[in-house]
């Protein structure tokens, strides 16, 4: 009987202290952010780059920092948009040749590098195929196979000739930096925050999350990963500081025709929505630009190739992948900072 009473006391202690089984313990490591008054949080919400963005900064400079970040977003939206007359991409695609600014040339260079590293699974020339499916305009349709094949001839990053600031495109080839622009933008916001004296902040650009420092209480940021099978729920929580957490999945932007679901992540090899066996690919990296591009590439790769790719580039990013059989793959770098909140089978990639 004594053991029963002891057990009850222990249970009561747990319940009354509000402990939640499975909840990750907050980090004990202090940081300078701990000195920030958490009540000095400021948030703003804006629509840009075809998504809604939520920005939060802490500290006495939060308000001017958010204003500066919003200006930066509007500037980059105009600069990098595929449809902005005032930007650099639309004129380039229309004329097939152009001189880019330092910034746009550097971003295109990065896009081409990731395209090369991923064997073209991330491809910044995929635009014409996306147009045929109607994803940019939301006038959805299933293109005919013949049309897709002719459009695929125009999809190949190796056809983009970038020399210094000068770009030359063969006829019909177009550049679309949409697969990398939001990641680059969240990188830039972190710089704007830092230059404004912010040491603690978090942004979500339509689900592309990036963090600056730690939370004001010194603990790590807790980012949930939406469950592709039930988007109202999360299947994992990852704890980060100074990192981006960016996910590609086919469950947010899609349409259905004749009972078939077509999502927005197109495999450049086939022209059809990727069907690799991965239904959610999350990248965690200090480099938001890289994370944005790789989330797409790993989604298209499939689990085996993604595992090999991570093993070759593990110093640059970590990943959490969910397969269509319900298995969750977590790279070793995240094993101590990732909590799976479902009953799915988990395997750590070494």
């Amino acid at each position: 009987m004594k053991s029963v009473i002891l057990c009850v006391i222990l249970c009561l202690s747990l319940v009354l202290s509000g402990c939640s089984a499975g909840q990750a313990a907050p980090s004990a490591t202090p940081s300078t952010a701990a000195e920030i008054d958490p009540t000095q949080a400021q948030s703003t919400e804006l629509f840009a780059m075809d998504t809604v963005m939520t920005l939060t900064a802490y500290g006495p400079n939060a308000d001017p920092a958010l204003q500066a970040a919003a200006e930066e977003i509007r500037r980059l939206d105009k600069l990098l948009s595929i449809s902005s007359e005032a930007g650099e991409i639309l004129p380039l695609n229309q004329s097939g040749q152009g001189e880019l600014s330092d910034e746009t040339a550097a971003l295109l260079q990065r896009a081409l590098e990731v395209s090369r590293e991923t064997g073209g699974l991330f491809d910044c020339t995929i635009g014409p195929v996306m147009d045929a499916w109607g994803f940019p305009t939301q006038n959805y349709q299933v293109p005919e196979g013949g049309l897709l094949q002719s459009l695929l001839a125009r999809v190949d990053y190796r056809q983009v000739a970038l020399s210094g600031h000068t770009v030359t495109l063969p006829k019909g080839v177009e550049i679309d930096l949409g697969g990398i622009a939001k990641g680059y933008t969240s990188d830039q916001i972190m710089d704007v925050f830092a230059q404004s004296g912010i040491t603690s902040g978090i942004v979500s650009l339509g689900g592309n999350v990036q963090t600056l420092g730690r939370k004001p209480d010194g603990s790590l940021w807790r980012v949930g990963l939406q469950d592709p099978r039930n988007p109202d729920q999360t299947f994992a929580v990852v704890e980060v500081e100074d990192q981006a957490v960016i996910t590609s999945g086919g469950y947010q932007r899609y349409f259905q025709e004749d009972g078939v679901t077509y999502h927005h992540i197109i495999d450049p090899r086939t022209g059809y929505p990727a069907d690799s066996g991965i239904i959610s690919a999350t990248i965690v990296s200090a480099d938001g630009t890289l994370a944005d591009a790789l989330s797409t590439a790993l989604f298209i790769m499939g689990p085996e190739e993604a595992e090999t790719f991570w093993q070759a580039h593990q110093d640059r990013f970590d990943a959490i992948l969910m397969t269509d059989s319900g298995q969750i793959l977590v790279t070793a770098g995240l094993a101590q900072r990732c909590q799976i909140t479902t009953d799915d089978a988990v395997r750590v990639i070494q």
């Binding site: 629509f47 689900g207 999350v209 940021w221 807790r222 929580v237 469950y251």
Partner: protein, 128 residues
Amino acid sequence: MNRKFLWMSGILLLLLAAALFWFLRQRGTEQHVAIISQNGQILRTVDLDTITETETFVVGEPGAQNTIQISPEGIGVISADCPDQVCVHQGLRQHGPEPIVCLPNGLSIRFSATDPSGLDAVTGGAAH
């Protein structure tokens, strides 16, 4: 046997009371307020904790309309004339951290209450 049964019943009741106390305490710490905005303008602020009946209403102009439902289960968009229906897929909710959004119609529903699991943000399948 009877004495053991009484002990076990008492323990069970004690546990239930503690669980109820914990639930009420958690519920009482955070107010569930939803802020409905369209194109940057706040249309309505709803205290979800006071909702006892289901209410449905339409926001926006013809061609850019969303039907919003408020019920004791939460708030959400139940129909919309946007092509992608992303807002409808987000279901009924009571808390954040992410807002319910209809991009084509410039609609957002933000929550004052954070996620009960203490999340600061949620990453979804938006990247392409």
